[in-house]
Each structure stands twice: as structure tokens, then as C-alpha cells.
């Protein structure tokens, strides 16, 4: 068979092992090619590059780290804070080369990287390296001080990567204020197969790190900007697979923890749904969350309660005061309560934290109280993205999510603009308060509940030491009555009812009496009737006898007078 000249080169990918990054790159960085990682100071370039190298080293792809900027000893020490044990990998699976130029080095004329690359190739062959990182190439390039020479060396580097079949990451500073570096940066972006930008900025006093794939030759990728978080175990990208797993919708209902609310919702929340509880401060949002979690724990379902800016033991104490005792479930490990400070990172980084919590605790029921704490402190853009990502997270995990949104006002219509969750949530319950006759009462309304029939009635929410109960509210002259007004109305209605019942009884007795009277009269008349009938019968009998007697007497008289046969016969 003749050989074909055109070789079909399959694009293979090197997994970075960085959560989320492998998702948005559809599998990792281009294998045997170069990737440019550009970003400002503190944007996570070195961490991202090193993590990719370490993950390769652990999974049978040894790597070389060429440090132009930092001492390798310091890099190794810094990596220990992420729990990566580099000394154990060093020299066998990982090799660090310090190429930091001496501070007093003088450049007098052109130089090139050919010797460095040649010696690196020898080292790579010797240790079987598959990956290589050039950390901050610009330190070296800036010595050249010649755009043309800089381009030439970059080209040499990229060429070398491809010919050595090494997966390379080249980091480079990318400071918007520094115009002088733009020339070779532009060139580098055209040259390499994959370009990733990292950004680090402060918005509303909260630090955000973001990552964006600018280009990726021959591969699909997510082109939007995603959040990058540097956590305890390294870098993590807050994103989800390009094709989300399509799980079938559950028709199972689970209890909200409040029986009346379950019946208002036609049986409870759907399993796997997202439920939003919105309302002003003190409208029992947290207590409803507590009821939900308690019901979940009593069903034996592992649950997770994330409280922003409220310590776990305070949550337990406060809920105990309304008859919701989560203590035993926390002790048994069924329920995990995690307190997180909202202002530490941006909203999207929080999603990363929540994702890790879900992974660790594998809850079936999940509460975030309040969700608005992390959304309101953030920029508009991430406020839009964050709920979407959160719901993608809980839906893919099949977790039933109840989250609360704190509102300053009492107007439900305002919420749509305040929190985007309201548009994506499956069930939205609004809690408000009603001030009337010098008291404040809580009210509960179901604003929407997808896929379920639900009551349109406002209910009064009554909170006492036994938890939450829902009561009907009274409408009087266009106003909703709650609390003691409702109680007064209830008493008044009860009295009116009793009065009505009494008067009916009275009337009944009157009528019964009248009936009895009529009956008595009927009896008298009947007796009179009988008497009259007797009299009549007697009269008729007497008359008949009289007639019979008369005829007999007449015949006898005739015979006694010896009359002839010519009788004056009576016709009878």
C-alpha cells in the first residue's frame, strides 16, 4: 500500500488536572505543543503552570520547570502550601532548573536560547519528560532589548517544543499599562496553539481572578471569562463541562418540613429542584431552611447547610429556640453546617467552594443562607452568571437546593432585579410582613412553582417554640387581617355563629310547639267526627227498625181485620 504524504495529525490533549480547566478546554492543553499563559502579577500564572506539571508528574508524565524569575527553592516551598509534595517528586518526575539571570548581568549584543534548549532536550530525554514550563519568559527576553531578536527566540522556543514533542507552557506578564511588551506578546499569541489570559482585579473591594481562553487551534473551547480560585489544594476554575449531563427530571416530592406548605405546593418540593425563599429581615427565611433540613435529616438524607457570615453554632442555637434541633444530626455527621465569610472572595469563587463542599459531603439536600450575601457584594456581570452556575452545579449533582435572598424592602416585585436566582429557581416563595394595628405579622406567598399546582392564597406564618405553622388570613374591607386582628375576627365570627345557632334552635322549638297544637286540634276534631258518625248510624238504624215494625204491624192489623186479598200492598 502506498504511503500517503498527508499525515492526519490527531490533536491529543494533556490533562492539566486543574478542576474546570480540563472542562472548558474539552480535555486539556494541546499535547506536544505550546500554550501561552499570560497575566498580570498575582494572577496565578506560576501556580497554574506548576499544577499542570505536578499533575502530569503524578500521572506518569515527568516534567521540567524552568524558572526564569523565582528561585526553585522558593517555588517548592510555596507549593507546599497547596499540599503538593514536590521534594518527593523532585529529580525523578520533576526537575527544576534555575535560570534566573544574575542581577548584575550585562547584555552586550545578541544571544540565543539554542544552548539552553539543547541541554534541556538532553535532560528531557534522560528523564523521559513529557511536559515543560518556562516561567516568565519575559525576564530573559527583556535582556535582548530587540523586538526582532525577541521574536526569533520565541519562534525558536516554539519550534523546539513541537520538534521535541513536549507539552509546553510559557508564562508571560501581561500588564495592560505596559505597552512596550505588547509587540512580542502579540507575536507569541499568533505563534502558539493555545493562549490563555489570566486577570486579577479588585471589584467592590473583593479580589477576583479570572481566566479566559483566547484561542485554541483545532479544538472547541469555552470562550467566556471564568473565575479562577486559588484554594487550599491549588488552582481551580469555576466552570462546568461544555455539554452538561442531561438528567431526567424527578417527580419525587420531598417535604419542606412544614405540613401546610407541602399541601400548598401539592405535596412538597420536587427532588432536585431549586427553591428560593425571599424576604425582608426577620421573616423566618432561616427557620424555613431549618425545617427543611430537619425533615431531610429525619428521612436520613445527608444534608449541607451553608451559612454566610453566621457561625455554625449560632445557627444551631437560634433554630433550637423555635423547636428545630439540628444538634443531634450535626453530631451524627448526617448534617454538615459550614460557615463562610462572604466578603473573602468573589461570588464565582464561592461557587468553587460550594462545589468542593458538595463533593466532600455528598448531600441530598442543600441550604444556602443567605445567597444574596455573596451576590449583592459583586459586580453585575458575575451576579448574572453566578446563579446560573450554582443551579448547574446543584442540578448536575441532583441536590435539592433551598436558598434565601435577603431583601431590603417588602416588595416582591423588586426582587426580580435584585437577584437573578428568581428567574432560574423552580419554586419561589416570598415571605413578607404586614404591619396593622400596631403589630407585625409574617405572611407567606408562593410566587411560582414550576410543574406543580400550587395555592394562590396568602398564608400567615406563625412562629413559636414548636416551629412554623401556617394559618389562613382574613380579608376585611380590602385589608388582610393577621395576628391579633385575625384572632379578634375569629372570636367575633365564632360569637356570631353561636348567636345564629341559638336563634335557629329557638325558632325550631316554636314551630314544633305550633305543630303539636295543630295535632291536638286534629285529634279533638277526629273524636267529634267519630261521635257524629255514631249518632248518624244510630239514627239510621232506629229509622229502619221503625219502618220494619210499621210494615209488620200493618200486615198484622190487616189480617186481624180479615181483609181480602186485595191488599194495599206496599211496594216493598
Amino acid at each position: 500500500m502506498p504511503k500517503t504524504n498527508v499525515q492526519h495529525i490527531e490533536l491529543t490533549k494533556a490533562r492539566t488536572g486543574i478542576r474546570g480547566l480540563d472542562d472548558i478546554t474539552n480535555g486539556g492543553l494541546p499535547q506536544g505543543r505550546g500554550t501561552l499563559l499570560a497575566g498580570g502579577p498575582g494572577s496565578g500564572k506560576t501556580v497554574l503552570a506548576l499544577q499542570t506539571l505536578v499533575s502530569g508528574a503524578v500521572n506518569g508524565e515527568p516534567g521540567i520547570f524552568v524558572a526564569f524569575e523565582e528561585d526553585s527553592a522558593r517555588i517548592i516551598a510555596n507549593a507546599a502550601t497547596f499540599g503538593w509534595n514536590l521534594p518527593a517528586l523532585e529529580n525523578k518526575e520533576l526537575f527544576f532548573l534555575d535560570t534566573k539571570p544574575r542581577p548584575d548581568v550585562v547584555c552586550a549584543g545578541q544571544f540565543d536560547l539554542s544552548s539552553l534548549l539543547a541541554s534541556l532536550k538532553a535532560k528531557a530525554d534522560q528523564m523521559g519528560a513529557k511536559r515543560i514550563v518556562f516561567d516568565s519568559i519575559d525576564v530573559l527576553l527583556s535582556l535582548l532589548d530587540d523586538p526582532l531578536a525577541e521574536r526569533r527566540e520565541l519562534f525558536r522556543l516554539n519550534d523546539w517544543l513541537v520538534s521535541s514533542r513536549l507539552t509546553g507552557i510559557i508564562t508571560c506578564k501581561n500588564n495592560d499599562s505596559c505597552q512596550s511588551r505588547l509587540d512580542y506578546q502579540d507575536f507569541m499569541q499568533y505563534m502558539v496553539d493555545c493562549v490563555i489570559f489570566l486577570r486579577h482585579e479588585v471589584d467592590n473591594r473583593v479580589t477576583h481572578r479570572t481566566l479566559r481562553i483566547v484561542k485554541y487551534r483545532g479544538s472547541g473551547f469555552y470562550a467566556g471569562e471564568v473565575a479562577l480560585s486559588l484554594g487550599d489544594s491549588g488552582a481551580e476554575v469555576v466552570s462546568f463541562p461544555l455539554s452538561a449531563p442531561c438528567e431526567s427530571a424527578s417527580t419525587e416530592r420531598i417535604s419542606s418540613g412544614v405540613a401546610r406548605l407541602d399541601s400548598m405546593l401539592g405535596g412538597g418540593y420536587y427532588r432536585g429542584a431549586a427553591i428560593l425563599l425571599s424576604g425582608a429581615p426577620g421573616t423566618s427565611k432561616t427557620t424555613l431552611c431549618g425545617s427543611f433540613v430537619l425533615a431531610a435529616c429525619e428521612r436520613g438524607e445527608p444534608s449541607l447547610f451553608v451559612g454566610f457570615d453566621e457561625p455554625a453554632h449560632e445557627i444551631v442555637r437560634n433554630l433550637r429556640s423555635v423547636g428545630i434541633d439540628l444538634g443531634p444530626h450535626v453530631a451524627s455527621g448526617l448534617l454538615h453546617i459550614q460557615s463562610i465569610r462572604s466578603s473573602l472572595t468573589g461570588a464565582e469563587e464561592h461557587i468553587g467552594t460550594l462545589r468542593n463542599l458538595i463533593d466532600t459531603h455528598q448531600p441530598r439536600c442543600f441550604v444556602i443562607d443567605p445567597l444574596s450575601a455573596i451576590i449583592n457584594c459583586d459586580s453585575d456581570a458575575s451576579r448574572r452568571r453566578m446563579p446560573e452556575q450554582l443551579l448547574a452545579l446543584t442540578k448536575s449533582a441532583g441536590v435539592t437546593l433551598v436558598c434565601t435572598s435577603l431583601l431590603g424592602g417588602n416588595d416582591a416585585l423588586n426582587e426580580a432585579t435584585n437577584i437573578q436566582v428568581s428567574t432560574v429557581a423552580d419554586t419561589w416563595i416570598h415571605l413578607s410582613y404586614n404591619v396593622l394595628s400596631g403589630e407585625r405579622n409574617r405572611a407567606l406567598t408562593i410566587i411560582k412553582s414550576r410543574g406543580t399546582e400550587h395555592s394562590n392564597q396568602v398564608r400567615e406564618l406563625i412562629l413559636n417554640s414548636d416551629g412554623i405553622t401556617l394559618a389562613d388570613v382574613y380579608q376585611a374591607e380590602g385589608e388582610v387581617l393577621m395576628g391579633t386582628s385575625r384572632w379578634q375576627k375569629e372570636i367575633a365570627e365564632k360569637a356570631a355563629e353561636e348567636l345564629l345557632q341559638a336563634s335557629v334552635e329557638h325558632k325550631r322549638k316554636e314551630l314544633e310547639l305550633a305543630q303539636a297544637e295543630v295535632n291536638a286540634r286534629i285529634e279533638v276534631l277526629q273524636r267529634e267526627m267519630a261521635v257524629k258518625r255514631g249518632e248518624l248510624e244510630m239514627l239510621l238504624a232506629t229509622e229502619a227498625n221503625r219502618l220494619k215494625l210499621f210494615e209488620r204491624n200493618r200486615d198484622e192489623l190487616w189480617s186481624m181485620r180479615s181483609g181480602d186479598d186485595q191488599k194495599i200492598s206496599s211496594s216493598s
Binding site: 550585562v106 552586550a108 545578541q110 544571544f111 544552548s115 535582556l143
Partner: protein, 109 residues
């Protein structure tokens, strides 16, 4: 005309010290060849015959080069007299090279 700055003069006058250089090259790369030529002519004009140049091919002994902190080529290291001075590049920029070697130029505009 080239001359040494006043604070270096006593050292030059009192000793017959050899000026020792080590030049790291990458095989016969153009920049490496250029560097050797430039270094030779520079030394000739500065020190007459009172110098020595060792050439190290990094491609042949990469481990040594790494151990001595040599990453790019060509690179010149003045071993003696101390302090050690490092100059990278092909030395086409002689002003920079002379500055590094502690030589100042006179009669320059």
C-alpha cells in the same frame, strides 16, 4: 583611545595579573563565533597579551554550564581578577561590554 578608570589603575600597575575569561558557546552557532572574535579583539586592545580565554561548548557539557549558571549563549565570564563579571551576548555592543569590564571611554561624543 581606551583607558582604565583611576580607581582600577593601582591594581593594574602593581600586578602582572592575567585577565582570565571563560566563553560559553553553543557549538558553532553564528553568535558564538561572533562572540569569540569580539572578545579576542577587545582583550587585545585592552590587555595586550596579558589575557586568557577558555571556550566551553555548552552543547558538549550541559550539566557543567547549568552548574555554573549559564543558560543562554554566548556568555562571557571574567574569572580573574575578582569580582566575577558576567556578560551575555555576542559582544557586538562594545560600549556595554567595556562598561561591564569597568572600562570607560574617553573622547566620545
Amino acid at each position: 583611545m581606551l583607558t582604565t578608570p583611576p580607581f582600577l589603575e593601582p591594581a593594574l600597575k602593581t600586578t602582572d595579573e592575567i585577565f582570565a575569561f571563560r566563553l560559553y558557546v553553543a557549538g558553532e552557532a553564528p553568535n558564538s563565533i561572533l562572540a569569540l572574535r569580539n572578545l579576542k579583539s577587545l582583550c587585545q586592545s585592552l590587555y595586550g597579551d596579558n589575557y586568557r580565554i577558555d571556550v566551553v561548548d555548552v552543547l558538549l557539557s550541559p550539566e557543567r554550564a547549568w552548574a555554573e549558571g549559564v543558560m543562554v549563549t554566548p556568555m562571557v565570564m571574567r574569572i580573574s581578577p575578582v569580582p566575577v563579571i558576567q556578560i551575555i551576548g555576542n559582544l557586538n555592543n562594545s560600549d556595554q561590554a567595556l562598561n561591564a569590564l569597568g572600562v570607560v571611554m574617553e573622547n566620545r561624543v
